[in-house]
Point group: C2
Chain length 312, copies 2
């Protein structure tokens, strides 16, 4: 089985997870979680989103969060930007990278961003030079790449067209979102391989929701196609407010466990990550979806039972 020797895992929980929480999470607590995550070996953390506070009330403190977190050297702090207003806030808050978010299908982009794909792309064409001029690196976040709740399968031609538009803007990173968790390993492998072949200069990363339990299988498939950048959300937090049926992101600790068990280097402190996931459980009023918290690591050996009654 040919796999990359290293994978860079991006933590997206503070954005993609907290945005879904109905109960307000105090800014202090968010800062504490981001600061904890910053010391675990991640090279990039998606910390918040400059969407309108009415759309995502729990991330209304994006500006304050970016101002107050400890910026650990070697870690890039990324924020989601959906439009010009978000870009203006980003220019003031100065994340290291911005994630220009758009759905590849018309109906999902209208549901999520209330505009057409063309309108999003036209605006991004204005935002990219603004970001680059400010020394902020832009990447493209593509939602519904592997399927849309309203339109079903997405034709390859559509993906290629969107990628070309981003290429034209000078974007160097495409983040492929399986927003509603419908991608399957063969499909993920084929789309990643095709994009890497067609756009060799692009950094292709994968963002899986684990709605149908295929996130880790899709991760391995993407890695077999050559992908070396994968997203996870600590505790398996998350979902999508406008993607019916979507459940959480793949739990970063489950992802990192699998990678490390396969001998793939991540540079991430798994024990520390499990500890953050447990702390997070105290912040949200619903059970998180983390296998590693429930089951522990493989190396947590149990003593063999002493008394054994005859059962056979």
């Amino acid at each position: 089985m040919r796999l990359p020797s290293k994978v860079q895992v991006m933590e997206v929980g503070p954005r993609d997870g907290f945005q879904m929480e109905r109960q307000w999470i105090p800014t202090e607590k968010k800062i504490e979680i981001v600061n904890d995550l910053s010391r675990l070996g991640f090279k990039e953390i998606q910390v918040t989103s400059f969407v309108h506070p009415k759309a995502v009330p729990n991330l209304a403190d994006a500006d304050e969060l970016l101002a107050r977190i400890d910026r650990v050297p070697g870690v890039k702090y990324q924020a989601l930007v959906p439009n010009l207003r978000g870009m203006q806030r980003a220019l003031a808050a100065k994340p290291d990278r911005i994630h220009l978010m758009m759905s590849v299908t018309e109906s999902h982009n209208r549901a999520n961003a209330n505009r057409s794909v063309e309108e999003s792309l036209k605006e991004f064409e204005q935002l990219v030079p603004m970001a680059l001029e400010a020394g902020i690196e832009p990447e493209a976040g593509l939602a519904c790449v592997f399927g849309c709740p309203f339109e079903g399968e997405v034709p390859w031609e559509r993906l290629e067209w969107v990628a070309k538009r981003y290429q034209g803007m000078g974007i160097k990173g495409l983040n492929l979102g399986d927003t509603i968790g419908v991608g399957n390993p063969r499909q993920v492998h084929d789309i990643c391989a095709r994009l890497l072949d067609r756009f060799p200069e692009m950094q292709i990363s994968l963002h899986c929701h684990n709605t149908r339990d295929m996130a880790l299988a899709n991760t391995v498939a993407a890695m077999q196609a050559g992908v070396t950048h994968i997203d996870g959300a600590v505790g398996g937090m998350g979902g999508c407010p406008y993607a019916p049926g979507a459940t959480g992101n793949v739990a970063t600790e489950d992802l990192v466990n699998m990678l490390q068990e396969m001998g793939v280097e991540t540079g991430i402190d798994l024990d520390g990550l499990i500890a953050v996931s447990k702390k997070l459980q105290d912040l949200v009023p619903h059970p998180l979806d983390s296998c590693m918290v429930k089951a522990g690591k493989r190396t947590d050996l149990k003593p063999a039972p002493k008394a054994q009654k005859k059962v056979g």
Copy 2:
């Protein structure tokens, strides 16, 4: 991505699932579930276990169950047999196949079967001819192939030695159990490939618990190594009474969904299977772990929202 065009999925829920239920499931209900499953296209169902009723009270009705289920032509009904007493019951109840269950590590076999591996194998050497003479096909069920809760990793030499012993008995099927859900895709791929290479006449099948969410990734990895027989338990039921931390088997409906989404033929009616999983939820007092029940199929498209407030 090279995958087999067809995979035979064995349903093991009525054995591996029901055995873990503390609350008695009436025999009538078990029969109804097995009869439902029998009409969904499975070629083999593991329906019960001839273990001592004190060890697994919920399967105390194994003899009655096998006598009373509808035996649908084309479906093989399999029962687990751990020892001579179980074999004697199996000879009377006449399943089509028996599953001779043993752990590959000493400490787990002692915990699970209260005997050494050598003692289990010696007894199986007596049972195999009895089964063959009665026209019952034996297969070997190996627990803890990918790791043991007490001993950790299992050396290849151990697996090879066990497989050779079974080969010597004339056994033609090895079922590799990831009893505590610690196997990773690279390891599963490599062990499957190595066993298929070393024992080309053996049918190698995979039995995953989803304890660390790697079951579907491991399934794809095994298929890439050439494995074409995979177990699942409807509703993700199951666990192992003597494997600390073990959680359920991979849900058959989630497994079948992934296979069918990849274009791999299973012959199984996924809608019917989801319906059985829902029915099962009414029989057990705890939530089942089925993504397909929660999320539905990819093709269950949603109408796009009509009213969209401006959020950007």
